[in-house]
């Protein structure tokens, strides 16, 4: 029992981290059909910025947290304007390589500025646990889940109830019609990148305390986020978050209860699950198959 709940909460926490990065990927893909391979490195880079703002990892600071979100937001907008927009009409390969180039640059830049040495990153939550009915539940795990849930909620409220959020949704559905209604779709794309960058920053800051801050910290997380996003259908924000949480819980459960599955096999297992799901439901669990009649 104890082990079950522990695994569950760790799974929820991991899943929240994957889910927030997956949501970032989906936001960008929904609007622009671009897969941002650099999403993980953007998250890593902004986490380093947070670390620097927190006096080089001395102690958690909520002030630094929000400042980092703001910096990530602006950074995401800048990247879209400067790097991505000029390649709007380029081939898919060019666009993929551009985000990969960004990945390489950010990875190198982080190592260059802050050195590749492992760094300690503080958590806003204590490492102690609550004891409920004899079961220990990690405060950090629940806290992580809570933070991500709060961010996702804020974003959902934005998209559902604000004019700008509605315009972004409309622009993703039918950009030409939106433009005819006066919507500057180009800037809304940049806004999407800004939100995605901020979500990535949250993901990075939540995972760093556990895996320690290094330039390669987000690479595995990115894969899990991809898997979650694809599971959810790449166009479904709900699917991305649900996929992330589901994947996190499942991987942890498998790791605890199925003995051949060790930590090295986590990634292959995730990939295997992904392949199986896509074979059965090609558009993901929450996606809509666009029927192409030939």
């Amino acid at each position: 029992m104890q082990q079950f709940f522990q695994t569950l909460t760790t799974g929820l926490s991991d899943g929240a981290i994957y889910g927030s990065l997956a949501l970032a990927l989906v936001l960008i893909y929904k609007a622009t059909e671009v897969i941002n391979f650099a999403q993980g490195e953007m998250a890593m880079f902004t986490t380093y910025i947070a670390w620097a703002l927190m006096d080089h990892g001395a102690a958690w600071s909520w002030w630094a947290f929000f400042e980092t979100l703001a910096i990530a937001f602006v950074g995401g907008i800048a990247i879209q304007r400067v790097l991505i927009k000029p390649l709007e009409r380029a081939s898919v390969l060019t666009m993929v390589m551009a985000t990969i180039a960004l990945l390489v640059i950010l990875n190198g830049l982080a190592a260059w500025i802050w050195s590749p040495q492992l760094q300690f990153f503080p958590s806003p939550f204590p490492t102690s646990s609550w004891v409920i009915g004899g079961v220990h539940i990690s405060k950090q795990d629940l806290g992580t889940f809570g933070i991500v849930a709060a961010c996702v909620l804020v974003l959902w409220l934005f998209f559902r109830f604000t004019k700008l959020g509605l315009a972004m949704r409309a622009g993703a559905l039918n950009p030409n019609a939106a433009r005819l209604l006066g919507v500057r779709t180009s800037w809304l794309l940049a806004l999407g990148w800004g939100f995605a960058a901020a979500l990535g920053a949250v993901s990075g800051m939540m995972v760093a305390p556990t895996v320690f801050l290094t330039p390669n910290m987000m690479q595995a997380v990115l894969i899990y986020a991809f898997a979650a996003a694809v599971l959810g259908g790449l166009e479904s924000p709900v699917g991305a978050v649900a996929g992330g949480i589901g994947l996190g819980v499942m991987l942890n459960m498998l790791g605890t209860y199925v003995h051949p599955v060790t930590s090295e096999l986590r990634l292959p297992v995730a990939l295997g699950v992904l392949l199986v799901v896509l074979l059965v439901k090609p558009a993901g669990l929450f996606g809509h198959v666009t029927v192409r009649r030939v």
């Binding site: 060019t94 180039a101 390489v104 260059w112 096999l265 292959p268 990939l271």
Partner: protein, 342 residues
């Protein structure tokens, strides 16, 4: 381009390959051997990405499969390294087909994602079964030495082996992309819907392309293991797959001759010329080149610049140059015959 362009080009390449070892040091010959094997890998990947339009971020893993096949056969089962090369290719190719079959259900971004995870999974699998793969420690192959009764410097031997293989597989690629199959590949790249409407099995074509490209990369990986004489899980990280794609882009996706340039880039610019360029650049701008990560930044920036300025790679630039030359020549001819057109 005249009908003789390709045979002439091949002849030139052949001459260059034969002459090169006499002109450069043994160490550079050793490096040129790697250029040969990278050419094989890039040509294979180009068939998949440039000709069939499927972006794979995982072909470094197929090189790894080929490398490990050769290593395990040579070290654990006493095979002669040369005989393992085709087998390594076949095994990698078979796994490529096995991956390709379900993967063809995915298009564009989904495929890229799935392939992105292959190398990472491969590394995980390598570490998980150490008794078979040598785990983290890896395996050592015997020192590079010449064989078949020929006694020559090992670097030259390696060079010869690599380029014999390359000079066989390079024209083979031309045969593959010529004719009906090549047209099928290109039609899948340009419009899957139109291809299907013309009765082409896109899934079959894509799977075949996957298998072929994996075969090529497997062969390249086998040669790589023979040359490096050591493999471990970190020899084939995601960076390698990215590097292969970069080589394709720089050479010019969809151009086989362009891959020569790509192979030169992968071997030289990244390893030796890259840091030299970085040094020149940094002296002008006072950057500390020994800082970790600085090389990556320059590499990424150069890649971005190429994507903006010359997205069709070296092959594209040469094509533009030739068009310019033809146009100028035509203007000159026209103006000679009709003075009023000047």
């Amino acid at each position: 381009m005249s009908r003789f362009a390709k045979p002439i080009g091949f002849a030139l390449l052949f001459c260059a390959v034969v002459i090169a070892p006499f002109l450069v040091s043994n160490y550079h010959t050793y490096q040129l051997g790697f250029v040969g094997l990278y050419l094989v890998a890039l040509v294979g990947l180009d068939i998949l990405t440039g000709f069939t339009g499927q972006i794979s971020l995982g072909h470094g893993a197929f090189m790894g499969i080929g490398a490990y096949t050769t290593t395990i056969l040579v070290v654990d089962h006493g095979w002669r390294d040369l005989w393992t090369i085709p087998l390594a290719g076949v095994i990698a190719g078979a796994i490529g087909v096995a991956f390709g079959l379900p993967a063809t259900r995915f298009s564009g971004p989904y495929l890229a994602l799935a392939t992105f995870a292959i190398p990472l999974s491969f590394i995980g699998l390598l570490k998980r079964y150490p008794h078979f793969t040598g785990g983290n420690v890896g395996k050592n192959l015997p020192q590079l030495h010449s064989e078949l009764g020929w006694h020559v410097n090992p670097s030259i031997w390696f060079y010869v082996v690599c380029w014999v293989v390359a000079l066989v597989m390079f024209p083979l690629a031309f045969l593959i992309v010529r004719g009906r199959f090549g047209r099928a590949l290109r039609s899948v790249r340009d419009s899957e819907i139109a291809a299907t409407a013309n009765g082409i099995s896109t899934a079959g074509v894509k799977t075949a392309a996957f298998g072929i490209s994996a075969f090529y990369c497997g062969v390249a990986g086998s040669l790589y293991a023979i040359g490096i004489t050591y493999v471990n899980p970190d020899t084939f990280p995601i960076d390698l797959s990215i590097l292969l794609l970069v080589g394709i882009v720089l050479g010019g996706a969809g151009s086989l001759y362009g891959m020569i340039f790509g192979a030169l880039f992968v071997e030289f610019i990244r390893i030796s010329w890259g840091p030299s360029i970085l040094n020149l650049f940094s002296k002008a701008h006072h950057i500390d080149t020994h800082a970790p990560g600085s090389g990556l930044v320059v590499y990424g920036v150069v890649l971005l610049l190429v994507l903006y300025v010359a997205p069709a790679g070296a092959a594209g630039l040469i094509r533009q140059l030739m068009t310019l030359v033809t146009r100028l020549r035509r203007k000159k001819d026209a103006s000679l015959s009709d003075p009023s057109l000047v």
